[in-house]
């Protein structure tokens, strides 16, 4: 059996799975061949090229079995909390309780991709007036109504304020259909005034102390709602333990990103890295298993780096990617055209940062929530991206717009303006719909042009050195 790292099709995965099993692969209870997910409707897998490692197999199965695992959790007596518009804060609190499971209904935004269109879910959203001028997260509305995708959580929380209007509007629609929502406010993060008490947030942003205190008070309300729901008081120690366990996952993810984005040749494809970064938001509804998945992936990339093998050519153009893609295939496309991911901001980089452990737990969580790049000025987000572009040695930046997302058009403009001023690398903006098949030639051309322009610049640079 060959262990050469490769990106393979689903058809190739059939044979690969048989090989791995024959070689003694052991899997968790949600394991199995990837082909079964196609039978369950995830037909986009047929168009993807995925990493061929056992660790990636586990990652994909973990991701695609979430709904089944949620039903299993309910059957086992766990209580679900739907943490809407929450990129990694309330789930930390939820997993500090013994019998609560955090679930991220917004994750339905990938269903139009995985199902190649979304079918009934989108038709329901259309019928409720949430049409395709909205971001693909509108699939969530259909999922709440038809109740076929995920069990309806007994408690729904949703942050509002400095959040995107698409989601806020859809969450309000969800509530109007009879699903009560516990709203909590996240204010627009503003720069501290001169002389105003301020604190540094994880990731390096600064915020006025009074804003941190406000968010802390909001999280205290959320905590009280969780305690009532769980029928259990949560001690400071339990919450601190939950934060420590979250940091464990973030450290593993940080190590994985560092290796995957810097090693040459690239040891892990962009697609799997996108999926694995998403685990930071709510641990794909299973905190403990997330740690196992991350540990296996980390072990795999370390093995590949030691063996000096990877999935791409060593001279792949180093691209920093901004925003998650609605169609997973776009990540394949980047690599097919000679690029590789060397850094990312998939909208939740604050969920990758270490949560302070030298502060009272709610204060630490408040600081983290306020560090959400989407909560502040896009100029601040752009500057963090610029710093990461330099840190990871990116040669180009792709800003991927989400179709229908109310924030993307203007935010992309601001980020591009700042990056063009503060970094020397080329920046392109593209829009990636949930299924890119019809626009793939255009997308391919734009990414190819970017990759070629970087290669040309490399050529001029090396020629200059020779002449010099």
């Amino acid at each position: 059996m060959s262990d050469t790292p490769r990106r393979i099709t689903l058809a190739e995965w059939d044979a690969r799975y048989a090989e791995l099993r024959a070689a003694g692969l052991t899997e968790p209870d949600y394991g199995g061949p990837l082909r079964r997910h196609v039978a369950e409707g995830d037909v986009r897998l047929l168009k993807l090229r995925m990493d061929n490692s056992a660790a990636s197999l586990r990652l994909w199965n973990f991701l695609l079995s979430e709904e089944d695992r949620l039903r299993g959790a309910v059957a086992a007596g766990k209580q679900l909390v739907g943490t809407m518009k929450d990129l990694g804060t309330v789930p930390v609190m939820v997993y500090s309780f013994r019998d609560l499971v955090a679930f991220y209904p917004d994750g339905a935004w990938w269903l139009p991709c995985l199902l190649e269109g979304g079918g009934e879910l989108m038709a329901i959203a259309d019928s409720l007036g949430i049409d395709d001028s909205y971001c693909p997260v509108r699939a969530m509305l259909g999922a709440f109504v038809n109740k076929k995708r995920f069990p309806i959580p007994g408690l729904l929380t949703c942050s509002v304020g400095a959040t995107c209007d698409d989601f806020s509007a859809i969450a309000q629609r969800v509530e109007s259909l009879g699903f009560p929502v516990f709203w909590w406010e996240i204010p627009h993060r503003r720069p501290p005034e001169p002389g105003e008490p301020a604190v540094e947030l994880p990731g390096g942003f600064h915020a006025p102390a009074e804003q941190v205190a406000f968010v802390k008070s909001e999280l205290a309300r959320v905590l009280a709602a969780l305690e009532t729901y769980a029928g259990e008081r949560l001690s400071q120690e339990q919450l601190a333990t939950g934060i420590a366990r979250t940091n464990q996952a973030r450290m593993a993810l940080g190590a994985l990103r560092q290796i995957a984005y810097t090693a040459e040749p690239c040891p892990m494809p962009a697609l799997e890295m996108l999926v694995v970064e998403m685990l930071a938001i709510h641990f794909c509804s299973d905190h403990n298993e997330t740690l196992q998945v991350l540990a296996e992936l980390l072990e795999e990339v370390r093995r590949r780096v030691r063996a000096r093998v990877g999935v791409l050519e060593a001279d792949a153009v180093r691209v920093f990617w901004v925003n998650p893609v609605a169609d997973l295939r776009a990540m394949n496309l980047l690599e097919d055209t000679g690029g590789r991911i060397c850094g990312s901001d998939y909208l939740f980089c604050h969920a990758l940062d270490h949560i302070p452990t030298d502060l009272p737990p709610l204060e630490a969580l408040a600081r983290m929530a306020l560090a959400d790049p989407m909560a502040g000025s896009p100029a601040e987000r752009a500057r963090r991206i610029g710093a990461d572009v330099r840190r990871f040695g990116a040669e180009a930046v792709v800003i991927s717009r989400i179709p229908g997302a109310s924030h993307c058009a203007m935010e992309g403009t601001v980020i591009a303006d700042v990056l063009r001023t503060e970094t020397p690398v080329p920046v392109v903006q593209i829009e990636v719909p949930p299924v890119t098949d019809s626009v793939e030639p255009t997308l391919r051309t734009r990414i190819e042009a970017l990759v070629e322009s970087v290669r040309e610049a490399r050529g001029r640079s090396s020629l200059g050195k020779e002449v010099g």
Partner: protein, 354 residues
């Protein structure tokens, strides 16, 4: 006197005026500069128009925006960034000229308006934001107001608004809407200045079909909608757009004004304005239900901009909630064909209601 431009109803003009500055409620035409093309790519036409105007130079000492929708939040950043980095190729004003130099561009203040409204904490957040706005205005050369000074101004504005409310029955829908919009500037006798106080000036046709216009902000050409409705046999008896009576503060309580004018000002705006961005936004429907009933409204013109997710999402819900016919008029990039289409649709709507 320095001018402070603003376009959110959550910014009290009383507060700006009390600092010795002139509040200017922005009424913009459609985007014509760089943002005109961006409207087709997901940028709200209203936000695009505001950005173009700000980059072309508003002639104001500062621009105050609010966080009530994310397009406006991001618009604040676009204006700041473009001003910071200087103009970019393609930035032109309504006359095709390059915009004013960077040094002439005004600073932007982004007022944090909470989406929630039920807790003491969010109320205090809004109060705190008004105090921060006050410090900003002082930094621009304004003077921190004495309580008595603010109280006097509040009562002036309240009286001026009250006069317009009392005259509503005698005004056309457009006259009423424009009079209210003018009162977002100085608290003057707008009826008298517009020649609307004489008995012979009564223009409202009481036989026409009573309509409500509901939605977000209006651009200057959108005020034609009031005339279109009236020319077609209707009359707008309820202006529930962002510039209309829906977003006026509640009447001030004179006793509270005397005791603590800042608190009364903040509460009157925070509690008095209902909007769809609020979470939950039940207050908007409660207010609308009362107004539709008391004014015997028979049809609703729903005005929204392309890419405005907050209002768009309420369209279907509104249709399910009310038994009244709802005419959806969505506005994209400004063009003559769209205006003619709107005219035809309003005519057909009123023929159906007649």
């Amino acid at each position: 006197m320095k001018t402070i431009a603003y376009c959110s109803p959550f910014v009290p003009p009383e507060w700006i005026a009390a600092h010795g500055l002139r509040p200017q409620w922005l009424r913009r035409s459609a985007a014509t500069g760089r943002m005109a093309t961006a409207v087709g790519r997901g940028i709200c036409p209203y936000a695009g128009a505001l950005i173009d105007a700000a980059l072309a130079g508003l002639g104001a000492a500062a621009l105050v925006l609010a966080t009530t929708c994310d397009q406006m939040r991001y618009a604040a950043a676009v204006v700041e960034i473009r001003a910071w980095h200087g103009r970019r190729a393609g930035d032109v004003d309504a006359h095709g000229q390059e915009p004013a130099a960077t040094k002439d561009r005004c600073p932007v203040f982004l007022l944090n308006v909470p989406s929630m409204w039920q807790t003491a904490a969010v109320r205090e957040l809004y109060h705190s934001e008004l105090r921060r706005l006050g410090r900003f205005l002082t930094g621009l050369g304004g003077s921190a107001p004495e309580d008595a000074e603010l109280a006097g101004l509040m009562l002036d504005y309240d009286r001026a608004r009250g006069n317009v409310y009392e005259a509503a029955a005698h005004l056309s829908g457009r006259q009423f809407a424009e009079a209210l919009a003018e009162l977002r500037g100085a608290p003057f006798d707008v009826l008298n200045s517009r020649g609307l106080t004489a008995p012979g000036k009564t223009v409202r046709n009481t036989a026409a079909v009573p309509l409500a216009i509901v939605g977000g902000p209006l651009l200057e050409p959108d005020y034609e909608l009031f005339d279109l409705a009236e020319h077609s046999g209707g009359r707008v008896v309820l202006d529930a757009t962002e510039g209309g009576e829906r977003t006026m503060p509640r009447r001030f309580d004179p006793a509270r004004v005397a005791a603590d004018p800042v608190a009364e000002l903040a509460d009157a705006y925070f509690d008095g304005i209902t909007d769809v961005f609020r979470r939950p936004n039940t207050g908007f429907y409660e207010w609308l239900g009362r107004q539709l009933s008391t004014r015997s409204v028979r049809g609703i013109i729903f005005r929204r901009f392309a890419w405005c997710d907050l209002w768009h999402a309420e369209l279907q819900r509104l249709r399910q909630w009310t038994r009244l016919p709802v005419l959806d008029i969505d506005a994209g990039p400004d063009d003559t064909a769209a205006a003619r289409r709107t005219e035809g649709r309003i005519e057909a709507f009123l023929e159906m209601l007649a």
